[in-house]
Symmetry: C2
């Protein structure tokens, strides 16, 4: 769609509307806002994109997003190096870190195994995990993939791969979210909550 | 908020969250998406911002956003040069143009008169309108400011300013939107609809 705008504006709207959650209307509103900003403000927005893109890389050890190599978590000597938490994305690392509870290391898969979509074990960041487990003294692997079909399948695959090496493998608990309502909880979640019950 | 991210990522999130309708969570999602894009895609997004900002200017005649001078509407000889439609923003020009009905010229005020916010007639693009009206043979001015308190006040002010010169001044109709419901229409709109009734 060209919206009848001049070309530079059209190009900007097209670029913005390729972002997730940004539709045509939102892209137009953002584009007009950008045009109404000071030149310096617009430049700093564009530069932030270029700088972040240039300086943020994936850590060669764990696959986390970082501007140093290895990342600040992998190079932190105060962390527990005997535990690795496996997550799907770098965003999940930050979600876990916000808890200020987990003190081990991470491994980012950058995706899940999903045969339906043609994604096998070789398409995720798994080989480097195996090497990490062989070269380091790891006692426990916590699998924190999402509770989706792909996340579960990936967790099962990794558990079967690792367990023979004598490493303890655990999975984060599924159940009713805190503040949730049993009446409105879907059956699969309620079943998981029942299966995962703990003695009081 | 720093979210615990590395600096380049933090800067990007901060810049993105300054955009309208983009909160902290959305800015994070957009930032992570940008980091996951190809380098070329991220560059073309940044360049689109810089290029649009550099090449899009306000038309010196009507105040519309344009990449040529004067704008494509002002320089279009097939348009009716005896009518000027006054709008608040360049976005309103595009909204009018999408109708493919209006064939006259435009004048963009870049705002409204709003004594409450300390914005007087000198703070909007009004002087150049007066000069246009003096130097050209204009028969009608259509005031298409928004039906808000500021838009109405601005319309009234301009009408009183122009009318003594013998130019016909009109205001776009307010009423119930097509597809709207009388039962759920607010009273002010319903009153406007009644006042603006036309004989069938």
């Amino acid at each position: 769609m060209s919206y009848g705008y001049a070309k530079p504006l059209n190009v900007l709207i097209k670029e913005l509307s390729s972002l997730p959650g940004v539709g045509g209307k939102t892209a137009q509103r953002l584009a007009f806002h950008i045009l109404s900003m000071d030149d310096a403000r617009a430049e700093s927005l564009a530069n932030a994109i270029l700088t972040a893109k240039k300086e943020m890389k994936y850590c060669s050890v764990c696959g986390n997003l970082t501007d140093q190599e290895p990342c600040s978590i992998c190079s932190d000597d105060t962390r527990d190096r005997s535990v690795i938490c496996i997550v799907e994305t770098a965003r999940d690392v930050f979600a876990m870190e916000r808890l200020r509870e987990y003190r081990g290391l991470y491994h980012v898969l950058h995706g899940t195994i999903s045969p339906m979509d043609g994604r096998g074990p070789d398409d995720i960041n798994l080989k480097s995990l195996i090497i990490r487990l062989q070269e380091n003294d790891i006692e426990e692997v916590v699998i924190a993939t999402n509770p989706s079909i792909e996340g579960e399948a990936t967790a099962m695959y990794i558990a079967r791969l690792i367990k023979p090496a004598g490493i303890r493998v655990s999975r984060i608990a599924h159940g009713i979210p805190v503040g949730g309502d049993i009446e409105y909880t879907d059956e699969v979640t309620l079943l998981k909550a029942l299966e995962g019950r703990r003695e009081l």
